[in-house]
Amino acid sequence: MKMPKLGPLATYLVRRSLFVLATFLSFLLIIFALPRAIPGNPVATLLAQLFQQAQANPDTIKAVYRKFMEEFGLDKPLHEQLYDFLSRVMVGDLGTSIAFYPRKVADLVASYLPWTLGLLIPATIAAWILGNLLGAWAAYKRKTAVDNVLLPTFLVLSQIPYYWLAMILLYVLAVYSRLFPVAGAYPPTIQPALTAQFVTGVLYHYTLPFLSILVVAIGGWAIGMRVLVIYELRSDYVEYSELLGLDDKKILGYVYKNSVLPQVTGLALSLGTVMGGALITELVFSYPGTGFLLFRALSTLDYPLIQGTFIILVSTLLLANFIVDLLYAWIDPRIRASYVGD
């Protein structure tokens, strides 16, 4: 049988998806191996504690213990444990939470995830667009007062942890001047429903967490874009177009388009860092997202919930990454052209 011949775009996508899958599998292996490789096996320790409590305590703890025993299966041989673990993850079974027993981990994370994504995605996209525009402007104004003010500002902004800016914004705009609410994602007095009142409440609570991520992320994008545009402005086609007498605006348009391409790749790589920062920012605002849930899980040593939260967060990130890859293949004329030509 002859293998169907794939175009360059398809080859690229197949290779990328295989790589993303391999990464996901490696991550699952890390999740599986960590508790079992660390001296003293923390999961076994927790299990022993539960077992002791179960001797003295009522049926629920016994039930938690049995469930936990069954899901981790530490008494089975290692390869069986791995097989069980992988086959359960593949069907979306992430086990049962200890702290929120008997709720399933997958359902728990699913109920917190929308708040995180709702914060993360719009803030990242807005920061990317604004950062690129500001960075290009700084590059165009290089060696002028504008750039001498913008560059140091970007440099400092990009180094601020989101959660520290979050603390400052919370203090200045909510605690001190009482312009914004001090905690939560919606007013506690309103029932979550699709009413105008609820939506306004949500947006009102959304402003500060959103700004904390936006302002910091703009700095990083602007720095990257500024360097790219500076390099691009020196390329031959810019000089040639200038000699031809094309107007600056038109040339800048070309320069912008060419410089923004590498920033798309950067978008994929930065998502993880932004997510890490956003999770901690949620803590500052008591925002009911995955970061908040993860903190609960960590402080109660709820290992199934910790593992499950990570599996869902990383799959989301890898998916987002793959979408950015698709986007890149779609907008990069070099990949598109070779695809059409094939």
Partner: protein
């Protein structure tokens, strides 16, 4: 007209100014951490004054919710964070440079495998990996935290070192050494390493700033050092004990401000070094 923009200002001067500013800020912070305790000998762990005092003459940065001195904590925290930054960056640098050198120099299957590993770790967000690993340790001393940060933050160094090694490998002086019969290790150490030394130094500076920010992130989620004070642990307690909502600004602003100043000056230092080593970036 666009080209005219580059011809204004003396670029050398700007570089030097950037270097001066970053070195000045860095030295000020390091001095505060190491010499400060001699001038201001207060135990950061002792309860020394009334609870939650705003800055006064007796307590220049006030006290926390237990009555512990915040300036003393800050000095101790600077040392703790720097210690983790220095160690974690060294670990990450060692892994990154080794992986990059071996992959770039050996080529073939070794390169493919190492780069696959690098790309996988690069795609997995380092801060999430750190949280995941740290979650399984009940006690975390500064060395453990440095190792956790170090083993998750090396991939970009490996990539960069590999591509530099690749381009150096095909240069004449490397061919000459090969013809002269030098062993691979000798060639790598004598011909390749010295040529990427400036880059390695820059990478170290950036890794250090990243490690100190990572430490603060780990601390904030409750997985920082369990003994000792770092900038992150001060922020963590401020967060847990609701310093922000209770208006205790002197508790959470100083550690964050010092961290940002440290990280920004290290970044500025790396940028200045970059311009110094790569004159093309300076040029007009």
């Amino acid at each position: 007209m666009l080209r005219g923009l580059y011809k204004v200002l003396n670029p050398e001067l700007f570089t030097i100014k950037k270097l001066d500013a970053s070195v000045a800020v860095l030295s000020a912070i390091i001095l505060t951490g190491f010499v400060g305790p001699w001038i201001y000998p207060v135990d950061p762990r002792a309860v020394v004054g009334p609870l939650e005092t705003p800055p006064t003459a007796a307590f220049p940065l006030g006290t926390d919710a237990y009555g512990k001195d915040i300036l003393a904590q800050l000095m101790s925290g600077i040392r703790g964070s720097l210690q983790i930054g220095v160690t974690a960056a060294a670990i990450a640098l060692l892994i990154g440079v080794m992986v990059g050198l071996v992959a770039g120099y050996k080529g073939r299957l070794t390169e493919s495998l190492l780069m696959m590993l690098t790309d996988i770790v690069l795609l997995l967000p380092s801060i999430l990996l750190m949280i995941l690993i740290a979650a399984y340790f009940k006690w975390r001393d500064p060395l453990l935290v440095s190792i956790i940060i170090g083993v998750t933050s090396w991939p970009w160094v490996a990539r960069a070192v590999r591509s530099q090694t690749l381009s150096l490998k095909s240069r004449e002086f490397v061919y000459l050494s090969k013809m002269a019969g030098y062993r691979d290790l000798q060639i790598v150490v004598r011909d390749i390493l010295p040529n990427i030394a400036s880059y390695i130094f820059m990478a170290y500076v950036l890794l250090m700033s990243g490690a100190m920010i990572a430490e603060t992130g780990l601390s904030m989620i409750g997985l920082g050092v369990t003994q000792g004070v770092t900038l992150g642990s001060i922020l963590f307690w401020a967060q847990v004990l609701e310093a922000v909502r209770r208006g205790l600004w002197w508790w959470f602003i100083p550690p964050g401000a010092v961290l940002v100043a440290l990280a920004a000056s290290l970044l500025m230092l790396a940028t200045a070094l970059d311009e110094y080593f790569n004159p093309r970036l300076r040029g007009g």
